[in-house]
């Protein structure tokens, strides 16, 4: 009669324990209405004191712990993209802050551009007022 044994050696290859899958980072996009790269850069400099060395239309900046990609979308406006495990309220607020500041700078930019062009053309600025809704009204005399 023969005997059959099952022997487990002390040294063995452990069976891998199933691990939960690592959470993957996702790319989130915040759409904006910002169209001018020059003004976006100026806005970022003003708000966060960031220097942007790249001259590409699309560029990347680091604000706090976030790496934000400014990417020109097909409709001609910038999208702000970032990678994260979850949607970030902080980035969303940041995007709103950037866009709000951009709008304020846009008014200033157009105001200065109109005044400079008018001066170049010899138009006399007769009146300049700021309305209650913060609109700037420039009145030029066309008789001169």
């Amino acid at each position: 009669m023969s005997v059959r044994y099952r022997v487990t050696p002390r040294i063995k290859i452990a069976r891998p324990k199933p691990r939960p899958p690592r959470p993957q980072k996702k790319v989130f996009t915040v759409s904006t209405k910002m169209t001018s790269r020059e003004l976006v850069v100026k806005t970022l400099q003003k708000l966060y004191n960031i220097e942007i060395n790249s001259t590409n239309e699309d560029f990347e900046v680091k604000v706090d712990s976030y790496r934000l990609e400014f990417e020109m979308s097909k409709d001609g406006c910038y999208d702000i993209r970032y990678s994260s495990f979850n949607w970030s309220k902080a980035v969303d607020e940041m995007a709103k802050e950037i866009e709000s500041e951009y709008r304020g700078m846009l008014q200033d930019y157009i105001y200065n551009a109109v005044k400079a062009k008018a001066e170049e053309k010899g138009l006399a600025l007769e009146q300049e007022t700021v309305q209650k809704n913060q609109a700037i009204v420039l009145t030029f005399n066309l008789n001169g």
Binding site: G122, Q131, I136
Partner: protein, 70 residues
Amino acid sequence: MASQRKLVISIDKEGNVTAEINGVKGPSCKDYEKLIEQLVDGMITDETLTSEFYEQENKNDDSTNLSNKL
């Protein structure tokens, strides 16, 4: 006596621009469209005609001044 011709440009908080030509009667007020586009560095996308557009044009209005500005 020529009327006071004025160009009023309004820039709102969001950078939207409206422009109005005052004191120019008749369709000649549209002669200023190019000047407006040059000043704002943009394109006119919408227009609303005011009552002055339908008034009779004063032929004594000096239009030579405009051509100097375009």
